[in-house]
Protein backbone atom coordinates (compact mmCIF):
# COMPACT_ATOMS: atom_id res chain seq x y z
CA UNK A 1 0.00 0.00 0.00
CA UNK A 2 1.45 3.39 -0.85
CA UNK A 3 2.21 6.13 1.62
CA UNK A 4 -0.53 8.60 0.63
CA UNK A 5 -3.22 5.93 0.88
CA UNK A 6 -1.97 4.90 4.33
CA UNK A 7 -2.27 8.50 5.46
CA UNK A 8 -6.01 8.23 4.93
CA UNK A 9 -6.51 4.64 5.98
CA UNK A 10 -4.87 4.80 9.41
CA UNK A 11 -7.01 7.59 10.94
CA UNK A 12 -10.09 6.06 9.31
CA UNK A 13 -9.36 2.71 10.96
CA UNK A 14 -8.88 4.43 14.31
CA UNK A 15 -12.23 6.19 13.87
CA UNK A 16 -14.02 2.94 12.99
CA UNK A 17 -12.47 1.24 16.02
CA UNK A 18 -13.82 3.85 18.42
CA UNK A 19 -17.25 3.97 16.78
CA UNK A 20 -17.35 0.16 16.84
CA UNK A 21 -16.51 0.07 20.55
CA UNK A 22 -19.17 2.66 21.25
CA UNK A 23 -21.70 0.67 19.23
CA UNK A 24 -20.75 -2.60 20.95
CA UNK A 25 -20.98 -1.00 24.38
CA UNK A 26 -24.48 0.18 23.47
CA UNK A 27 -25.64 -3.36 22.74
CA UNK A 28 -24.01 -4.89 25.85
CA UNK A 29 -25.23 -2.34 28.37
CA UNK A 30 -28.48 -0.44 27.97
CA UNK A 31 -27.65 3.24 27.77
CA UNK A 32 -30.11 5.89 28.99
CA UNK A 33 -32.33 7.33 26.27
CA UNK A 34 -30.21 10.47 25.89
CA UNK A 35 -27.12 8.48 24.86
CA UNK A 36 -27.50 7.36 21.26
CA UNK A 37 -25.24 4.84 19.51
CA UNK A 38 -23.57 5.65 16.16
CA UNK A 39 -26.11 3.76 14.01
CA UNK A 40 -28.98 5.63 15.67
CA UNK A 41 -27.26 8.98 15.10
CA UNK A 42 -26.47 8.07 11.50
CA UNK A 43 -30.06 6.93 10.89
CA UNK A 44 -31.49 10.07 12.46
CA UNK A 45 -29.05 12.17 10.48
CA UNK A 46 -30.05 10.60 7.15
CA UNK A 47 -33.77 10.96 7.80
CA UNK A 48 -33.24 14.59 8.89
CA UNK A 49 -31.94 15.55 5.46
CA UNK A 50 -34.91 17.57 4.26
CA UNK A 51 -35.64 21.10 3.11
CA UNK A 52 -36.11 22.27 6.68
CA UNK A 53 -32.67 21.01 7.70
CA UNK A 54 -31.25 22.56 4.54
CA UNK A 55 -32.72 25.89 5.60
CA UNK A 56 -31.23 25.59 9.09
CA UNK A 57 -27.77 24.71 7.76
CA UNK A 58 -27.98 27.53 5.22
CA UNK A 59 -29.03 30.12 7.80
CA UNK A 60 -26.27 29.09 10.22
CA UNK A 61 -23.56 28.88 7.55
CA UNK A 62 -24.57 32.30 6.22
CA UNK A 63 -24.47 33.92 9.67
CA UNK A 64 -21.15 32.31 10.58
CA UNK A 65 -19.54 33.29 7.26
CA UNK A 66 -20.89 36.84 7.30
CA UNK A 67 -19.62 37.38 10.86
CA UNK A 68 -16.28 35.72 10.18
CA UNK A 69 -15.62 37.61 6.94
CA UNK A 70 -16.54 40.92 8.58
CA UNK A 71 -14.18 40.22 11.50
CA UNK A 72 -11.35 39.07 9.23
CA UNK A 73 -11.67 41.97 6.79
CA UNK A 74 -11.19 44.41 9.67
CA UNK A 75 -8.64 42.41 11.68
CA UNK A 76 -6.12 41.52 8.94
CA UNK A 77 -5.29 45.05 7.67
CA UNK A 78 -5.64 46.63 11.12
CA UNK A 79 -3.20 44.16 12.69
CA UNK A 80 -0.75 44.73 9.83
CA UNK A 81 -0.86 48.50 10.18
CA UNK A 82 -0.59 48.31 13.98
CA UNK A 83 2.40 45.96 13.81
CA UNK A 84 4.21 48.28 11.37
CA UNK A 85 3.29 51.74 12.70
CA UNK A 86 4.01 52.61 16.32
CA UNK A 87 1.37 55.40 16.68
CA UNK A 88 -1.43 53.11 15.47
CA UNK A 89 -0.17 50.43 17.84
CA UNK A 90 -0.24 52.86 20.78
CA UNK A 91 -3.75 53.95 19.87
CA UNK A 92 -5.17 50.41 19.62
CA UNK A 93 -3.25 48.56 22.31
CA UNK A 94 -5.38 49.54 25.34
CA UNK A 95 -8.61 48.53 23.60
CA UNK A 96 -7.23 45.25 22.29
CA UNK A 97 -5.90 44.44 25.76
CA UNK A 98 -9.22 45.28 27.42
CA UNK A 99 -11.53 43.46 25.04
CA UNK A 100 -9.27 40.51 24.33
CA UNK A 101 -9.84 38.89 27.73
CA UNK A 102 -13.51 39.85 27.85
CA UNK A 103 -15.92 36.99 27.11
CA UNK A 104 -17.25 38.56 23.93
CA UNK A 105 -20.61 36.79 24.25
CA UNK A 106 -21.32 38.99 27.28
CA UNK A 107 -21.73 41.84 24.79
CA UNK A 108 -24.71 40.13 23.15
CA UNK A 109 -27.36 41.64 25.44
CA UNK A 110 -25.91 45.09 24.72
CA UNK A 111 -25.95 44.43 20.99
CA UNK A 112 -29.56 43.19 21.22
CA UNK A 113 -30.51 46.39 23.01
CA UNK A 114 -28.91 48.42 20.24
CA UNK A 115 -29.88 46.35 17.24
CA UNK A 116 -32.84 44.26 18.46
CA UNK A 117 -33.24 40.49 18.16
CA UNK A 118 -31.92 40.67 14.62
CA UNK A 119 -29.27 39.14 12.42
CA UNK A 120 -27.45 42.48 12.61
CA UNK A 121 -26.92 41.86 16.33
CA UNK A 122 -26.00 38.18 15.84
CA UNK A 123 -23.59 38.80 12.97
CA UNK A 124 -21.95 41.73 14.78
CA UNK A 125 -21.50 39.40 17.77
CA UNK A 126 -19.79 36.78 15.59
CA UNK A 127 -17.62 39.39 13.87
CA UNK A 128 -16.41 40.84 17.19
CA UNK A 129 -15.51 37.35 18.43
CA UNK A 130 -13.70 36.32 15.22
CA UNK A 131 -11.82 39.62 15.14
CA UNK A 132 -9.57 38.99 18.15
CA UNK A 133 -7.81 35.71 17.34
CA UNK A 134 -7.26 36.86 13.74
CA UNK A 135 -5.88 40.20 14.94
CA UNK A 136 -3.59 38.62 17.54
CA UNK A 137 -2.10 36.03 15.17
CA UNK A 138 -1.72 38.48 12.28
CA UNK A 139 -0.04 41.02 14.56
CA UNK A 140 2.39 38.39 15.87
CA UNK A 141 2.98 37.23 12.28
CA UNK A 142 3.96 40.67 11.00
CA UNK A 143 6.11 41.32 14.08
CA UNK A 144 7.78 37.93 13.66
CA UNK A 145 8.95 38.43 10.08
CA UNK A 146 12.61 37.49 9.79
CA UNK A 147 14.38 40.88 9.70
CA UNK A 148 16.90 39.43 7.24
CA UNK A 149 14.06 39.03 4.71
CA UNK A 150 13.61 42.78 4.75
CA UNK A 151 17.37 43.33 4.51
CA UNK A 152 17.47 41.13 1.41
CA UNK A 153 14.59 43.09 -0.11
CA UNK A 154 16.43 46.35 0.60
CA UNK A 155 19.67 44.94 -0.80
CA UNK A 156 18.12 43.91 -4.14
CA UNK A 157 16.47 47.33 -4.40
CA UNK A 158 12.85 46.20 -4.12
CA UNK A 159 10.32 49.04 -3.92
CA UNK A 160 8.10 49.34 -0.82
CA UNK A 161 5.16 47.98 -2.80
CA UNK A 162 7.21 45.08 -4.17
CA UNK A 163 8.53 44.30 -0.66
CA UNK A 164 5.04 44.32 0.81
CA UNK A 165 3.46 42.14 -1.87
CA UNK A 166 6.29 39.68 -2.49
CA UNK A 167 7.93 39.44 0.94
CA UNK A 168 5.74 40.65 3.81
CA UNK A 169 2.49 38.99 2.69
CA UNK A 170 3.94 35.55 1.93
CA UNK A 171 6.00 35.70 5.12
CA UNK A 172 2.96 36.29 7.34
CA UNK A 173 0.66 33.94 5.41
CA UNK A 174 1.22 30.91 7.70
CA UNK A 175 0.43 32.90 10.85
CA UNK A 176 -2.51 34.60 9.15
CA UNK A 177 -3.79 31.14 8.27
CA UNK A 178 -3.59 29.99 11.89
CA UNK A 179 -5.54 33.09 12.91
CA UNK A 180 -8.13 32.43 10.21
CA UNK A 181 -8.63 28.82 11.28
CA UNK A 182 -9.01 29.78 14.93
CA UNK A 183 -11.35 32.58 13.80
CA UNK A 184 -13.49 30.08 11.87
CA UNK A 185 -13.82 27.82 14.92
CA UNK A 186 -14.70 30.77 17.19
CA UNK A 187 -17.22 32.00 14.62
CA UNK A 188 -19.06 28.67 14.70
CA UNK A 189 -19.05 28.52 18.50
CA UNK A 190 -20.40 32.04 18.78
CA UNK A 191 -22.94 31.43 16.01
CA UNK A 192 -24.53 28.74 18.16
CA UNK A 193 -24.58 30.98 21.22
CA UNK A 194 -25.86 33.95 19.21
CA UNK A 195 -28.66 31.85 17.73
CA UNK A 196 -29.76 30.46 21.08
CA UNK A 197 -29.31 33.52 23.31
CA UNK A 198 -30.12 35.88 20.47
CA UNK A 199 -33.53 34.23 19.93
CA UNK A 200 -32.89 33.27 16.33
CA UNK A 201 -36.02 32.05 14.49
CA UNK A 202 -33.96 29.56 12.47
CA UNK A 203 -30.53 27.95 12.15
CA UNK A 204 -28.81 24.95 13.70
CA UNK A 205 -28.63 26.57 17.13
CA UNK A 206 -32.40 26.91 17.10
CA UNK A 207 -32.71 23.32 15.78
CA UNK A 208 -30.60 21.89 18.62
CA UNK A 209 -32.24 24.07 21.26
CA UNK A 210 -35.72 23.04 20.06
CA UNK A 211 -34.64 19.39 20.17
CA UNK A 212 -33.58 19.96 23.78
CA UNK A 213 -36.94 21.64 24.54
CA UNK A 214 -39.05 18.73 23.28
CA UNK A 215 -36.55 16.08 24.45
CA UNK A 216 -35.91 14.94 20.87
CA UNK A 217 -32.41 13.57 21.23
CA UNK A 218 -32.19 12.66 17.54
CA UNK A 219 -32.82 16.30 16.65
CA UNK A 220 -30.08 17.48 18.99
CA UNK A 221 -27.53 15.03 17.66
CA UNK A 222 -28.32 15.70 14.00
CA UNK A 223 -27.81 19.40 14.64
CA UNK A 224 -24.46 18.75 16.32
CA UNK A 225 -23.31 16.53 13.43
CA UNK A 226 -24.31 19.26 10.97
CA UNK A 227 -22.33 21.87 12.92
CA UNK A 228 -19.26 19.63 12.80
CA UNK A 229 -19.74 19.08 9.06
CA UNK A 230 -19.90 22.83 8.42
CA UNK A 231 -16.61 23.29 10.29
CA UNK A 232 -15.03 20.43 8.39
CA UNK A 233 -16.34 21.82 5.10
CA UNK A 234 -14.85 25.27 5.73
CA UNK A 235 -11.49 23.75 6.65
CA UNK A 236 -11.53 21.70 3.44
CA UNK A 237 -12.40 24.83 1.44
CA UNK A 238 -9.42 26.65 2.98
CA UNK A 239 -7.18 23.70 2.11
CA UNK A 240 -8.39 23.60 -1.50
CA UNK A 241 -8.09 27.37 -1.89
CA UNK A 242 -4.45 27.30 -0.75
CA UNK A 243 -3.39 23.92 -2.17
CA UNK A 244 -0.69 25.51 -4.34
CA UNK A 245 0.88 27.18 -1.34
CA UNK A 246 2.11 24.43 0.99
CA UNK A 247 4.19 26.95 2.95
CA UNK A 248 0.97 28.50 4.29
CA UNK A 249 0.34 25.31 6.25
CA UNK A 250 3.87 25.26 7.55
CA UNK A 251 4.61 22.24 5.35
CA UNK A 252 7.55 23.94 3.67
CA UNK A 253 9.84 24.88 6.53
CA UNK A 254 11.22 28.42 6.36
CA UNK A 255 14.95 28.72 5.95
Amino acid sequence: MNESLLRWVRPLLALLLILGAWQAAGSVWSFPAYVLVPTEIAGAWFSSLDAEMGGAVGATALRASAGFVLGAVIALPLATVAALLRPVENLLEPYIGFFYALPKISLLPVLVLWLGYSDSARITMIAVSAFFPIYIYMHAGVRGINPDYLKVAANVGATRRETFLRVVIPAVAPMAMVGIRVGVAISLIVTFAAEVIGQSPNGLGRHIQDGFGILSYEQMYTGIVMFALIGLGIDLLLRVATRNRPSIWGEASPT
Binding site: D148, N155, A158, R166, A173, A252
Partner: protein, 286 residues
Protein backbone atom coordinates in the same frame (compact mmCIF):
# COMPACT_ATOMS: atom_id res chain seq x y z
CA UNK B 1 37.67 63.63 -3.04
CA UNK B 2 39.91 61.36 -1.02
CA UNK B 3 39.16 58.54 -3.45
CA UNK B 4 40.26 60.68 -6.37
CA UNK B 5 43.52 61.72 -4.71
CA UNK B 6 44.28 58.09 -3.85
CA UNK B 7 43.80 57.18 -7.48
CA UNK B 8 46.10 59.96 -8.59
CA UNK B 9 48.85 59.30 -6.07
CA UNK B 10 49.02 55.54 -6.47
CA UNK B 11 48.74 54.62 -10.12
CA UNK B 12 50.11 51.11 -9.61
CA UNK B 13 47.70 49.93 -6.94
CA UNK B 14 44.14 49.05 -7.94
CA UNK B 15 41.45 51.65 -7.22
CA UNK B 16 39.62 51.58 -3.91
CA UNK B 17 36.28 49.79 -4.08
CA UNK B 18 35.12 50.69 -0.59
CA UNK B 19 36.55 53.03 2.00
CA UNK B 20 35.76 53.07 5.72
CA UNK B 21 36.89 56.28 7.39
CA UNK B 22 36.99 56.76 11.17
CA UNK B 23 33.93 54.62 11.84
CA UNK B 24 32.74 54.22 15.43
CA UNK B 25 29.49 52.67 16.59
CA UNK B 26 28.00 53.19 20.00
CA UNK B 27 24.92 51.39 21.27
CA UNK B 28 22.85 52.34 24.21
CA UNK B 29 22.07 49.33 26.33
CA UNK B 30 20.21 49.47 29.65
CA UNK B 31 20.81 53.19 29.76
CA UNK B 32 24.57 52.82 29.29
CA UNK B 33 26.50 53.61 26.16
CA UNK B 34 28.44 50.66 24.83
CA UNK B 35 31.08 51.23 22.20
CA UNK B 36 31.09 48.36 19.71
CA UNK B 37 33.50 49.84 17.17
CA UNK B 38 36.19 52.42 17.74
CA UNK B 39 37.68 54.54 14.98
CA UNK B 40 37.97 51.96 12.22
CA UNK B 41 39.58 53.04 8.95
CA UNK B 42 40.29 50.70 6.09
CA UNK B 43 40.19 50.60 2.31
CA UNK B 44 39.09 47.62 0.26
CA UNK B 45 40.87 47.53 -3.09
CA UNK B 46 39.08 46.55 -6.27
CA UNK B 47 39.43 42.82 -6.89
CA UNK B 48 40.71 42.20 -3.38
CA UNK B 49 39.55 39.43 -1.07
CA UNK B 50 39.62 40.90 2.43
CA UNK B 51 38.85 38.82 5.47
CA UNK B 52 37.94 40.33 8.82
CA UNK B 53 38.52 38.06 11.79
CA UNK B 54 37.99 38.50 15.49
CA UNK B 55 36.55 36.89 18.62
CA UNK B 56 32.78 36.83 19.05
CA UNK B 57 31.41 40.16 20.20
CA UNK B 58 34.30 42.15 18.71
CA UNK B 59 31.96 44.10 16.41
CA UNK B 60 33.06 42.52 13.12
CA UNK B 61 29.48 41.82 12.07
CA UNK B 62 28.47 45.35 13.04
CA UNK B 63 31.29 46.69 10.87
CA UNK B 64 30.05 44.64 7.92
CA UNK B 65 26.46 45.80 8.45
CA UNK B 66 27.71 49.38 8.40
CA UNK B 67 29.71 48.73 5.22
CA UNK B 68 26.53 47.40 3.58
CA UNK B 69 24.41 50.36 4.69
CA UNK B 70 22.23 48.15 6.94
CA UNK B 71 23.44 50.01 10.02
CA UNK B 72 24.64 53.58 10.48
CA UNK B 73 27.96 54.50 12.06
CA UNK B 74 27.79 56.81 15.09
CA UNK B 75 30.71 58.73 13.63
CA UNK B 76 32.72 58.31 10.46
CA UNK B 77 31.82 57.55 6.87
CA UNK B 78 31.64 54.69 4.39
CA UNK B 79 31.96 55.35 0.67
CA UNK B 80 32.28 53.46 -2.58
CA UNK B 81 33.49 54.79 -5.92
CA UNK B 82 29.82 55.68 -6.55
CA UNK B 83 29.65 57.92 -3.46
CA UNK B 84 28.86 57.75 0.26
CA UNK B 85 26.91 54.73 1.53
CA UNK B 86 23.67 55.94 3.13
CA UNK B 87 21.64 52.74 2.99
CA UNK B 88 21.47 49.28 1.39
CA UNK B 89 21.89 49.27 -2.37
CA UNK B 90 22.48 46.89 -5.25
CA UNK B 91 26.03 48.23 -5.47
CA UNK B 92 27.02 46.44 -2.24
CA UNK B 93 25.79 42.86 -2.08
CA UNK B 94 25.37 41.03 1.22
CA UNK B 95 25.41 37.30 1.90
CA UNK B 96 24.00 36.70 5.37
CA UNK B 97 25.00 34.12 7.95
CA UNK B 98 21.77 32.23 7.26
CA UNK B 99 20.93 31.74 3.56
CA UNK B 100 17.71 33.80 3.93
CA UNK B 101 16.09 32.50 0.77
CA UNK B 102 12.36 33.07 0.49
CA UNK B 103 10.84 29.64 1.18
CA UNK B 104 7.74 30.38 -0.90
CA UNK B 105 9.73 30.58 -4.13
CA UNK B 106 11.86 28.14 -6.07
CA UNK B 107 15.61 28.70 -6.07
CA UNK B 108 15.41 30.10 -9.60
CA UNK B 109 12.64 32.52 -8.68
CA UNK B 110 14.63 33.69 -5.64
CA UNK B 111 17.47 34.71 -7.97
CA UNK B 112 15.37 36.05 -10.82
CA UNK B 113 13.36 38.25 -8.43
CA UNK B 114 16.58 40.01 -7.43
CA UNK B 115 17.33 40.57 -11.12
CA UNK B 116 13.79 41.79 -11.83
CA UNK B 117 14.08 44.31 -8.99
CA UNK B 118 17.01 45.75 -10.92
CA UNK B 119 14.79 46.36 -13.91
CA UNK B 120 15.82 43.32 -15.93
CA UNK B 121 13.10 41.82 -18.16
CA UNK B 122 11.52 38.52 -17.16
CA UNK B 123 13.10 36.40 -19.89
CA UNK B 124 16.57 37.82 -19.45
CA UNK B 125 16.26 37.50 -15.66
CA UNK B 126 15.43 33.82 -15.99
CA UNK B 127 18.31 33.21 -18.38
CA UNK B 128 20.77 35.01 -16.12
CA UNK B 129 19.56 33.28 -12.97
CA UNK B 130 20.12 29.89 -14.64
CA UNK B 131 23.64 30.93 -15.60
CA UNK B 132 24.40 32.04 -12.06
CA UNK B 133 22.95 28.87 -10.53
CA UNK B 134 25.18 26.88 -12.85
CA UNK B 135 28.16 28.98 -11.76
CA UNK B 136 27.53 28.18 -8.08
CA UNK B 137 27.04 24.49 -8.87
CA UNK B 138 23.28 24.25 -8.57
CA UNK B 139 22.50 23.08 -12.08
CA UNK B 140 19.49 20.76 -11.95
CA UNK B 141 18.12 22.38 -8.78
CA UNK B 142 16.60 25.46 -10.43
CA UNK B 143 13.02 24.48 -9.63
CA UNK B 144 13.71 23.07 -6.16
CA UNK B 145 12.33 24.88 -3.13
CA UNK B 146 14.85 26.09 -0.53
CA UNK B 147 13.72 23.60 2.12
CA UNK B 148 14.52 20.78 -0.30
CA UNK B 149 18.18 21.82 -0.34
CA UNK B 150 20.95 21.24 2.19
CA UNK B 151 22.37 24.20 4.12
CA UNK B 152 25.41 24.39 1.84
CA UNK B 153 23.25 24.37 -1.29
CA UNK B 154 21.00 27.06 0.16
CA UNK B 155 24.04 29.22 0.81
CA UNK B 156 25.18 28.65 -2.80
CA UNK B 157 21.77 29.86 -4.00
CA UNK B 158 21.99 32.90 -1.74
CA UNK B 159 25.43 33.61 -3.21
CA UNK B 160 23.99 33.36 -6.74
CA UNK B 161 21.26 35.80 -5.78
CA UNK B 162 23.77 38.31 -4.43
CA UNK B 163 26.10 37.89 -7.42
CA UNK B 164 23.14 38.67 -9.69
CA UNK B 165 23.26 42.24 -8.39
CA UNK B 166 26.73 42.55 -9.95
CA UNK B 167 27.81 44.49 -6.86
CA UNK B 168 31.08 46.37 -6.82
CA UNK B 169 31.67 44.86 -3.37
CA UNK B 170 30.40 41.54 -2.04
CA UNK B 171 30.04 41.37 1.75
CA UNK B 172 29.83 37.98 3.42
CA UNK B 173 28.85 37.70 7.09
CA UNK B 174 30.17 34.38 8.44
CA UNK B 175 28.39 32.67 5.54
CA UNK B 176 29.74 29.18 6.27
CA UNK B 177 29.58 29.20 10.06
CA UNK B 178 26.23 27.38 10.16
CA UNK B 179 27.53 24.54 7.94
CA UNK B 180 29.12 21.28 9.04
CA UNK B 181 32.93 21.11 8.91
CA UNK B 182 33.24 19.15 5.64
CA UNK B 183 30.71 21.30 3.80
CA UNK B 184 32.45 24.40 5.10
CA UNK B 185 35.80 23.32 3.64
CA UNK B 186 34.16 22.51 0.31
CA UNK B 187 32.38 25.84 0.25
CA UNK B 188 35.66 27.69 0.90
CA UNK B 189 37.17 26.08 -2.19
CA UNK B 190 33.99 26.74 -4.15
CA UNK B 191 34.10 30.40 -3.17
CA UNK B 192 37.68 30.66 -4.44
CA UNK B 193 36.62 29.11 -7.75
CA UNK B 194 33.53 31.32 -8.12
CA UNK B 195 35.54 34.40 -7.31
CA UNK B 196 38.07 33.47 -10.03
CA UNK B 197 35.19 33.44 -12.54
CA UNK B 198 33.14 36.39 -11.27
CA UNK B 199 36.14 38.55 -10.31
CA UNK B 200 34.23 40.16 -7.46
CA UNK B 201 35.71 42.25 -4.67
CA UNK B 202 34.91 40.46 -1.41
CA UNK B 203 34.88 41.38 2.27
CA UNK B 204 34.44 38.22 4.29
CA UNK B 205 33.81 38.21 8.04
CA UNK B 206 34.61 35.12 10.09
CA UNK B 207 35.62 34.07 13.60
CA UNK B 208 37.64 31.17 12.13
CA UNK B 209 41.32 32.20 11.83
CA UNK B 210 42.17 29.31 9.49
CA UNK B 211 39.35 30.33 7.17
CA UNK B 212 40.42 33.97 7.31
CA UNK B 213 44.05 33.21 6.44
CA UNK B 214 43.14 30.63 3.78
CA UNK B 215 40.69 32.89 1.92
CA UNK B 216 42.07 36.37 2.45
CA UNK B 217 44.48 38.31 0.26
CA UNK B 218 44.53 40.64 3.20
CA UNK B 219 43.52 39.72 6.74
CA UNK B 220 42.24 42.32 9.18
CA UNK B 221 42.12 41.19 12.80
CA UNK B 222 39.83 43.07 15.17
CA UNK B 223 40.30 43.21 18.90
CA UNK B 224 37.14 43.30 20.92
CA UNK B 225 35.49 45.69 23.36
CA UNK B 226 35.51 48.07 21.59
CA UNK B 227 36.36 46.69 18.16
CA UNK B 228 39.59 48.18 16.86
CA UNK B 229 41.93 47.08 14.09
CA UNK B 230 44.64 45.12 15.89
CA UNK B 231 46.50 43.73 12.92
CA UNK B 232 46.57 43.95 9.14
CA UNK B 233 48.36 41.20 7.28
CA UNK B 234 49.06 40.47 3.62
CA UNK B 235 50.73 37.03 3.68
CA UNK B 236 52.68 36.02 0.61
CA UNK B 237 50.65 32.94 -0.32
CA UNK B 238 50.14 31.62 -3.85
CA UNK B 239 46.87 32.32 -5.68
CA UNK B 240 44.46 30.87 -6.45
CA UNK B 241 44.60 29.21 -3.07
CA UNK B 242 44.54 25.45 -2.73
CA UNK B 243 44.53 23.28 0.40
CA UNK B 244 48.30 22.80 0.08
CA UNK B 245 49.03 26.35 1.23
CA UNK B 246 47.80 25.36 4.67
CA UNK B 247 50.98 23.32 5.12
CA UNK B 248 53.29 26.14 4.05
CA UNK B 249 55.38 28.05 6.59
CA UNK B 250 53.86 31.37 5.42
CA UNK B 251 50.39 30.11 6.22
CA UNK B 252 51.39 28.87 9.67
CA UNK B 253 53.20 32.12 10.44
CA UNK B 254 50.19 34.17 9.40
CA UNK B 255 47.91 31.93 11.46
CA UNK B 256 50.13 32.30 14.52
CA UNK B 257 50.35 36.07 14.11
CA UNK B 258 46.58 36.45 14.00
CA UNK B 259 46.06 33.99 16.84
CA UNK B 260 48.64 35.72 19.05
CA UNK B 261 46.90 39.00 18.39
CA UNK B 262 43.40 37.92 19.39
CA UNK B 263 44.20 35.13 21.86
CA UNK B 264 43.85 37.25 24.98
CA UNK B 265 40.62 38.72 23.67
CA UNK B 266 39.20 35.29 22.92
CA UNK B 267 40.29 33.95 26.28
CA UNK B 268 38.66 36.78 28.15
CA UNK B 269 35.47 36.48 26.12
CA UNK B 270 35.13 32.75 26.77
CA UNK B 271 35.97 33.16 30.46
CA UNK B 272 33.29 35.76 30.92
CA UNK B 273 30.80 33.59 29.04
CA UNK B 274 31.57 30.69 31.31
CA UNK B 275 31.16 32.88 34.37
CA UNK B 276 27.81 33.97 33.00
CA UNK B 277 28.87 37.59 33.03
CA UNK B 278 28.23 40.11 30.32
CA UNK B 279 30.98 42.56 31.25
CA UNK B 280 33.58 40.93 29.04
CA UNK B 281 31.38 41.49 25.98
CA UNK B 282 30.33 44.97 26.86
CA UNK B 283 33.77 46.11 27.84
CA UNK B 284 34.65 49.71 28.33
CA UNK B 285 31.85 52.16 28.24
CA UNK B 286 31.89 55.75 27.18
Amino acid sequence: MTLASDLASAPNTPPIALRVEGVSRTYSRKGRNVRALNNISLSVLTGEFMTIVGPSGCGKSTLLQIMGGFDRPSTGTVATAAGPVTGPSRDIGMVFQRPTLFPWWTVEKNVSWALRCGGIKRREALRRSRELLELVGLRGFETAFPNELSGGMQQRAALARTLSLEPSVLLMDEPFSALDAQTRELMQEELIRIRQVAGTTIVFVTHDIREAVFLGDRIVALSGSPGEIALELTPDLPRPRTREVMRSQEFLDAYEAVWACIRDQARRASASTRAGMRQGDEGRTT
